[in-house]
């Protein structure tokens, strides 16, 4: 069980060199892109298109790390590993994808206070 926080705001702001405005813009873009990446990963995983699924998991992992969503980044890293290993075990993949969705839900709740009104 991961012990990483759902949101590390200070680390994320440090990634933006302390520019809160830049973080808000990056956060808005990430909130739009992250669901698409998760959906893309699931579709290509079900279709057996492992490279595309792995690319989507990789982008989700990197972006989440930059935005301070450390738990989500860790869940995405596990999805990337599964895609890289091309492991077609349905229960494993379902459990990993469900964990990723739960991490995403917690991140959105935590980051809501930093979104512009």
């Amino acid at each position: 069980m991961s012990t990483l926080p759902d949101l590390d705001y200070h680390a994320a702001l440090a990634n933006m060199a302390g520019m809160v405005e830049l973080y808000c813009e990056a956060l808005a873009a990430f909130l739009q892109e992250a669901p698409l990446l998760m959906q893309q990963y699931r579709e290509h995983w079900l279709a057996g298109d492992w490279p595309v699924a792995r690319r989507a998991a990789h982008s989700l992992k990197s972006s989440a790390a930059v935005m301070g969503a450390l738990a989500l980044s860790q869940a995405a890293r596990y999805l990337e590993q599964l895609a890289t290993a091309e492991d077609g075990s349905q229960p494993v993949l379902e459990a990993a994808w469900l964990a990723c969705m739960q991490a995403w839900q917690r991140f959105t709740q935590a980051v809501a206070v930093y979104l512009p009104a």
């Binding site: 990634n15 933006m16 060199a17 830049l22 813009e25 990056a26 873009a29 930059v66």
Partner: protein
Amino acid sequence: MSHKKQAFLLGLALFAVLIWHISAALLAQQGWLAALLHSGFTCLLLLVVGVCMRSGQAQQRDERAGEQGAAWQETEPLWQQLQQAYVEQCQQLDGQLQEANRLLQDAIGGLLDSFSSITRHAKAQQDIAISMIGAGEGGNNQHTASFERFAHDTNATLEIFVENTLRTSQVSIVQVNHMTEIDEKIRSVHAFLADIDGISKQTNMLALNAAIEAARAGEAGRGFAVVADEVRALSLRTHDFNEQISQTILSVQKMVEEAHASIADLASHDMSYVLEAKMRVQHTMGQINELSQGMAGAVTQLNGIAGQVEHSTNVAITSLQFQDRLSQLLGRAGQCVSTLQALQQLAPQLLSASGSGETLAATREQCRLQLQALRQPPPAEQPARHHDIELF
């Protein structure tokens, strides 16, 4: 003559006859003296006979005058009543003649006015009929020709209208095809705009990633952060332009769709109704032409009838000229009545004449002059001649 005088004359006659026979007997026997006596007694006898006859006649006249005088005494009241009744009847007759003359003049005057009014109205009707069909037969032909020209012009205009309508329909079909192509092009532009929008978003994401990486690089990545910001700005401007173009293209597409629908609706109309309308209009124009010709014929007949009415009325007015002749006849009848009255007045004058012979002679002379004046013939009546009658 008295009875004594008659007896004397009878005895003298008998004596003369006796002497005459004696002288006749002597004449048969002796010479000239007896003849002379016979002649003398003959003359005497004739004289006596003449006197006796004259005396007898006078006696008869005296007797008759006496009888008439007695009868006149009895008849005079009745004679006066008859005179009075005669005068009254003459007066009534004269009054009735004058009343008849007045009524006749009034009636004839009313009839003449009425016929004159009829003539004026018939003339007005004729003028209206002439004005409707034009002046004379030439005008009628002009009217018909004018209407035929109108029908021809209308038909030509209708032909042009139908041709233009069909041409418009054909052009509309072509325009519908063009509009369909334009709509397809616009849809492809929308696809291009969607691709451009995707590129803009990816560019924005890349610029954002670049800005983040530049920020993480610290001081060394400051210049790169400026470039990343410019790229993001260009990406946002591209996105804005793309949105504006997309909205404009959407408006154009909407207008093209509306124009396409309108032109398609115009082109989808069945143009056969135009040809049917043309046939109906031509049929109606033919009926109107026939109706116009019939109306012109009817007006011509009305014109002829009006002329006949005017002629008949003039004949009636001419015939009513008998009023003058009848008035003359009534006038003469009145004069006859007056003459009768005057003659009736002469009789009492003669009957009442009495006194000396000079008075009676004067009365007779007066009556004779009056009778002569009354018998003056009336002025010769002028026969009515048709050409002498002044028409009203």
